[in-house]
Amino acid sequence: MDVMSAPEARYVRDDAPEQPPRVTRSAAGIKVERNKQFIVPSSHDFDRQYAHVYFTRYNSFKKLIETAATNKWPSKHVVPKLLDIEKEKECVVFGVLYKDMPLKPNILDEYHARENYEAPPPERSKYNSDEDALVLEDMSGRIVLIGDALDVGTHVSGVVVAVLGKALPSGEFQIADVCYPRFPPQKRLPKIPPSYVCLVSGLNISKNDKARLSMQLLSDFIQGNIGSTADQELAASIVHVIVAGNLVWRLDDEHQDLPLYKKRTMIPESVGHMREVDLFLAQMGINVRVDLMPGPHDPSDAILPQQPMHPCMFPLARNVSSVKGETNPYETTVAGRTFLGTSGQGVDDIYRFSTEEDRLRILEQTLEWAQLFPTAPDTLGCFPYHMTDFSDPFVITSCPHVYFAGNQPSFATKLVTGPEGQQVRLVCVPSFSDTHTAVLLNLATLECEPIQFDAP
């Protein structure tokens, strides 16, 4: 069971059955447990700095990484602090990676450009350059890492690693090998009859767009209102829909330059679009559970973890009990299968700051690194969390069965097997507005297939 290569199920609306029979949900008894772990405490405090995030992360991983390193290199000397490295002696050290990148966007550059009436530094799809360099940091100091064993290009800031090597007289650390935290353990899968979870992301409702029709098709399909009998039976076995972010197209910034006295009365463009979404969700959620994650475009927090979208924007859907606002990232258990996923910010951000082109591989890397958002807070905003209020929420402490990222340019999936036989279904959920594609995941087999809704 390597890469999922199921034939693409293409759904084209045909007018054949005038009155499609309504179906009863076959798997209605399947249990969906909600997970609350990404709620930011109301007492959170922006007076803190980001140093605490790294500190917390370092401490969360300390044991894990030490264990992993001792298992991997049983005979090597582990130096607990970078400060204690002796030159020219082989040893193992660990810490948080930081990647120095000359092209990394920088608020000071933008400020400077504005002051000098220059164009702001260009936005790029990738910010890596030949001058990127990795340093390893712990509480005691920093050391520059060199050597081929650790690829600068595909690693990013914030990842916790252990490295084997030796310090050169020049003070740099020559790496021979690298080790990531221990792959997290996984719960056993209970057997269940075939049933499906539908993953969809990136509706991106905007002014234009024919995706609306496709959305309607999706909604009709999930409700079992259209398609052949087989389609309807398939629809009937969908027990859960996860909307992984980006309901609306980009929150507008066009009002930013308005003087305040005009800003106070402007109506955000997203208001109308959210009302549309509300209607859509209220319809779709009539007889299937819909979990709603906010995405980068949505009216939720700009920093991670994004909190559930406010119910006041869903006057209709909030009255449908099966529609729920959730956090991003999000973890849920459906019939004993753990789903862990994000609306894609982590993958997107790593993509920008890494040479890796394959987003599925990036998703896999974050699992190997056991971190949902390694690049937060360096290039990805996050709450300044702290040991005392909640230990690093972005550490993957238990291995999910399904691990997904929303709002990716195209569908991709893969089953990876961990060192202790953990099996994880990785899914890049495509952006619906671009691909008109949702993903159906078979809970019994963890197989997964795209399903496209093209209006003729």
Binding site: L168, P268, C312
Partner: protein
Amino acid sequence: MHDFSFAPKSKDARKQQQQTLDDSKQHHQQQQDNQQQQQPAKGTAAMPTVPRSLSDGDNGAKRRVERSASGSKKWKAGGKNSNPESQDSAFVDELGDMGTNGERISDVARPPAKPMDSSKEAFVFQQLDLDSYLDVPLPGMPGPQRGNVQIFRLFGVTKGGNSVLMHVHGFCPFIYTPAPANFTPSMLGEFKMALDKQIKETTSSAKDVPEVVMMVEIVSKESIYGFHATGKRPFLKIYLVQHKFINPARRALEQGTITLSKLGTLSYEVYESNLELNLRFMVETQLVGCNWVEVPAGKYKFRSFSSTPKPVSLAQYELDVAFDAFISHPAEDEWQQIAPLRILSFDIECAGRKGVFPEPDKDPVIQIANMVQVEGESKPFVRNVFTLGTCAPIVGSKVIACKTEIELLESWSAFVRECDPDIVTGYNITNFDLPFLMNRAKHLGARKFPYLGRLRNVQSKLSETKFSSKAYGTRESKVTSMEGRVPLDVLQILQRDYKLRSYTLNSVSAHFLSEQKEDVHHSIITDLQNGNDETRRRLAVYCMKDAYLPLRLLSKLMCVVNYMEMARVTGVPLSYLLSRGQQIKVISQLMRHAGQHDLVIPVHERQGSDEQYEGATVIQPKRGYYDTPIATLDFSSLYPSIMMAHNLCYTTLLSPQERSHLHPDDYIKTPNGDYFVKNKVRKGLLPLILESLLSARKRAKADLKKETDPFRKSVLNGRQLALKISANSVYGFTGATVGKLPCLAISSSVTAFGREMIEATKQHVESRYNVKNGYKHDAVVIYGDTDSVMVKFGLDSLEETMKVAQEAAEYVTSKFIRPINLEFEKVYFPYLLINKKRYAGLFWTRTEKWDKMDCKGLVTVRRDNCPLVVTLINTCLHKLLIERNVEGAIDFAKKTISDLLCNEIDISQLVITKALTKTADEYDGKQAHVELAERMRKRDAGSAPTLGDRVAYVIIRGPKGAPAFEKSEDPIYVLENNIQLDTQYYLHNQLEKPLMSIFEPILGSRAKELLSGEHTRVVVKRASSAGGNDKKSRGSIMSFTRAKATCRSCRALLPAGRTTLCSACEKDIDVHFQRELLKKRQLEDRYARLWAQCQRCQGSVMQDVLCTSKDCPIFYMRKKVQKDLRMQNEVVGKFDDSW
């Protein structure tokens, strides 16, 4: 460590710290051992696969590019060093990169000096500094053979980088006096005896000198002052054995105490008795500052410990030479090169007490960081830091941990002697670091410390000088003597050569190097020192960066090259350029030229007269906004060319008696009513000097065009700049009434000619370029100042205007005497003429693309303005001149005003900064920043600004009519307590005037509308608790919740139970929610980006950001965003959110 000072420490953290301390002691030992074992490291170079190994060559090449690209303000993409976002981390990495050249870290000393055969090889070196001392004459040398004589010391460096001390013997100072009538050579002996006797009688220190007057001879000379038809006449040249006898000799001569048997008792007028000894020596031996000296083989003798005299210095070559036995090469061709000079840059940190400026008798020196670089190389080859107490190692740098402060001071002093720098630099070292070290060493009794110069057994001394100059104002300065080393304080250079808003190292680095520097408040420095070896390491990295930045500034601004060229052009020692004013440079040149023409300079008695003469004139500006090209015609080097054209000089100035002997064709009358002889009768000395300067400049400029090597290019550019400046300073010298040789007839005539020429230019242009003569429009001179006139030719096209202007310049030039030259240089289009010396315009020299936006006399540099004014005015000008969008400029001004009144302006834009230079009692009248400092001291003495600190303040709302100084407040305090700013103050006292000045020429009376209208009416009351500055209530959130809630939409009072909207507005709850949420999102995004940036900038992600750099644009922003975010969070949180 994670949290060493602010957050309460957890037990674990403390334990770890202790652990660290113990570990590092051991570790430190190992580290030192490692240092010693270091071999020439080929490590990184040998690994071709290493992606980022920066070999020395690479790095050097990169820096070269930077050097040539100086002046561009853009970030340089690619250059690692220029990457501002991660500068500090880059700095630690950079230190690492530098360190790949392992063998040089410990090799501090100069390359070994090769033995030389003085009888076969000529000795060549570049001299940098000189002084003189008294000692017994060396046998075999010229000059007096008995008693103590004047001996000169020249310090310098050979081409191979070896240090040199050359003792020059046999030179005697001298003065002149006109020989009395009937004086014959036979009287010389008697005259000498009489003078010698008289001096000995009146001067106690001369009593035991065998011979005070060395020699008297008759020479043919002429006074420089005034034209003498008689020409040269006999003068007595009197050589004295020591410089200090010049004044007694002058007194003896002037007071009529010399009696000659045949002539009786006469009094004598004395010439050139007030010239400095060093300069006199340099002029006579044709030395100019920093030139190369060659001593032919056989003409010198090396000193050694086995010979007599023994070496007195630490120089690698020490030699004795007769004053007439060496060749002084003019700085031309091959002699333009610069020896591999060693530049030491250092910075000290003191552990001050809270709230008090460090005092050397109380506060310890805890770290001294050093960087030594060879001029012309791209990176320092010595990087080290001396620390008090242990310090964790720093990659690529040497940490020298000292147990006691005395050890710290003395080992640093030993380091200075060992690395033997030629130039010592740093930031404010002259007035802070060096005096502090000297006083501290004295206080502690570190007896081996004060030997910082190149002379053995000569103590460095600290003295104070007052330096007054018309150009630079009066400055008190301290001097720490370091014989043989030239202090070049970067702060002093910047204060002299650049007008900046702020001279802190942070803001200077931001300005010139485009990078922010972490700024750790001095109250935290003590905490870092008292922490463990990791916190001290942090401090050390900070300290080293402060030592490194001055070096980077020096090379970026090419100070060493430019100053050296200035020294060479003007002929004064390098050290004079910072310690002395403009005059000395002119005197040096005057002396050199006068000597060649047998002219002697009279002693001018300083009268301190306040005689004023009329300055340059301006043609009344026709104020307005010109949307057609305005051509600027400039007289190039106006004042020098007037002096040349009209032969204005001391030597050509005609007295009425002299004039009566001359034919009217032989002289001219200046517009000022003075008379000067014409060229054909006698060519003036000043015109000669100016000609040689300007033609040298022309040559340098021509060479500059041809030169391709960036380093030689910068030398030539420095040269042409120096030549230009010195040509222009000649005029000033003649007008300096407190100077050595003022001559107002010259300076007043120069300005009078200038005024006449500006007027004449206006006449010529306007009478030729008009409709009557067939031109399309009447040309109008809209403004004229000193050496330029602005002409509106009325043409719309740039190309045509340039053509006509070029022709007009040539036409007007033809009306004047050579070398006066009117040049067409640039067109302003559009042009905003605000007032005299205040204008702005877009500057064009080609038709394709404008060159720059030129602003003169506008608020942009004034320091008592808040940045908002600068930003607003610059943006408006940008919109007016570049975008040519008047409406856009108006809208922007209105938006800014509206945002200001609504409290939407970032507080950093409203901060006014002033240095606290005196205590409150010493200021006349009350001042906002002084009052604030006082108040802050009452609140918390520890963090309050102390003398020398810069105080940042904002103006807050106070009782009606309260003076501004009572309303100043600390921006951080304002942020923390949500205090209302006095936006009206900012509008009327800061923005109004400059806004009106640029908009009035465009809008006329309509400009007033900017200050009233819709955009000014909306004033949002922000929730505020502390209205005054001494209320204790903190935390606006509390008061916010207690206040009666109103509907966020219609402001109706809400009934109990409702928190955000009234029932009528409830239907639009999603609109209101999303509006507030958008604001919160923007704040969150800002918060994340700002704090991530600071974390990067400080070079560590696991340590709290400590930086309090008030010069950093994001310092207040990141504080404010925390506050705003908390507020906005509250607002959004009020929308009930259960699903």
